[in-house]
Symmetry: C2
Subunit: 303 residues, 2 copies
């Protein structure tokens, strides 16, 4: 029997469910249904974002914002913006010219449910919407804060972040990467956006430098741990559990943490990273326990 995907503790699960609920409502509000002639674009944007995601990045935005007493309505806007960037990258990564994935979160990928052109445009429009949201005064009254959010998200998402990481990932299908390059690839492809999600709370809350630094360090270790466990899940799980095509990395001949260091060492590495990420949060004393619990959950998750 496949393990339940609900393996977080009841307390953590409840907070995660709250975030999922809140961010889904925000997304639906930011992407209202429409009967304009170009409606398929907005339907695809909704389809690619309102699809039962775990909302890890929104969770990080909400929890780090809460540390500094940031208003939840504002934090939720930033959470939605980060999720829009994450979802756009999934929509584009799934395209036939990229990873050619048919399934995403147990449902047909956006380009399968609509068509390739609509999926490309939906991704483009989601990325653009993220910046529109962050630059809006409703996100924060201080334009310095808004500019910093825009700038940091752009850096995490562009050629030296998400896009560069995906380029490396495609190159990795035909080249063998060493551990250093795999780590760099993952830092760019997943790590930087996860770091931004954690730093966003500090930016919104105008946190001091040491608190901000602690969250970035936490995020860096957490992001890498997340990716290592993703590689482990890719070889261990089936599509029914993860809701996406599995074993694809091996089939595509991609170098992963597992293919490079072996499954046992990968598991040890993930555990070490999680311990390290938790240690960075000691600066917050008892106030960051949920973030600590989340880090431990990364090791136990099945999806």
């Amino acid at each position: 029997m496949a393990p339940s995907p609900r393996d977080a503790s009841p307390g953590l699960q409840e907070r995660m469910d709250d975030v999922i609920d809140g961010v889904n409502k925000s997304i639906a509000r930011l992407l209202p249904e429409t009967d304009l002639p170009e409606a398929p674009l907005f339907e695809a944007m909704r389809y690619g974002t309102l699809n039962g995601g775990k909302r890890l990045r929104p969770f990080l935005v909400m929890e780090t914002s809460a540390l500094f007493g940031v208003d939840a309505v504002r934090a939720r806007r930033v959470a939605a913006a980060v999720e829009f960037v994450h979802c756009y990258s999934l929509i584009h990564d799934d395209l036939p010219a990229m990873d050619d994935a048919q399934l995403r979160r147990g449902k047909p990928a956006t380009h399968v449910a609509f068509d390739e052109a609509t999926a490309i445009l939906a991704g483009d429009a989601l990325l653009t919407l993220a910046f529109e949201i962050l630059s809006d005064p409703e996100t924060h009254e201080d334009p310095r804060v808004r500019c910093e959010l825009v700038s940091m998200l752009a850096k995490a998402s562009g050629g030296h972040g998400l896009c560069g990481g995906q380029m490396l990932d495609l190159i990795g299908e035909k080249a063998e990467f060493d551990l250093g390059t795999i780590s760099r690839l993952q830092r760019m492809k997943t790590g930087k956006l996860i770091s931004f999600a954690c730093e966003a709370g500090a930016i919104l809350g105008k946190a001091n430098e040491s608190n901000r630094r602690a969250l970035v360090n936490y995020a860096n270790d957490l992001g890498l741990a997340f990716q290592v466990t993703d590689d482990i899940l890719d070889v261990e799980s089936d599509a029914k559990t993860t809701g996406k095509d599995s074993g694809k990395d091996a089939a595509a001949g991609k170098s992963t943490f597992v293919s490079t260091m072996g499954k046992d060492q990968a598991k040890q590495r993930a555990e070490m990273l999680v311990q390290q990420s938790i240690a960075h949060l000691n600066i917050f004393q008892g106030r960051a326990d949920t973030l600590k619990e989340l880090a431990r959950y990364v090791l136990q998750r099945r999806t």
Copy 2:
């Protein structure tokens, strides 16, 4: 004999050449060559932007900025950002799943010169870079100005702008549009970004409301005139002159201004729009003569 593509007056041509030169240098500086393993991404970004474009949008940014004494170095950053968005949209529009164009500006389209995946990512990264540039303090010391630039560019480029317009354009291959819908499509697909290019000078220069309004009105008429003449050129020119596949709209069964109102009426409409656009600039007395000349040039251009 095909008419020369150089049919602007010597004075206008000189200013356009200056802008082309300046913005090309800015683009090259913002997109330096690299020997990182993900270099193909940056090569494709350079290929898709440093390809002999007319730089109409940068020209509008530079000329409207000059009206308010904006520092040219700053204006050139905004000009490059607008051009990045324009070029990203061309790279994505040319993809097989979209307009399936092989040629762009007389050279293989980006997805032909590289591959589809790299072209998609290069477009994504260019769009992202535009927002990174605008949010940078080097673009303007006032974060209010930077936020407004980000917000206005995002609105011009997203689901209610560029992306929505391209969606409509694709739908138009299978549906017949009336003149109102064609106008709306063109306003979204081309007009809004041209409007932003003109408004950018006013935003950077903190212009008063009536000056800003005049430039937006000028841009709206100019953008529509530009699109009407584009449709006329599509049926009149050959690939050798325009440097792109021609007659494609008719072949794709798309409704255009020409297919809806006929070529003669389309020409009259373009002339009327240009006269109208020029009239909006009277508020600047003699100081906007280059912008007026540009509007007249739109009627005469052959590419």
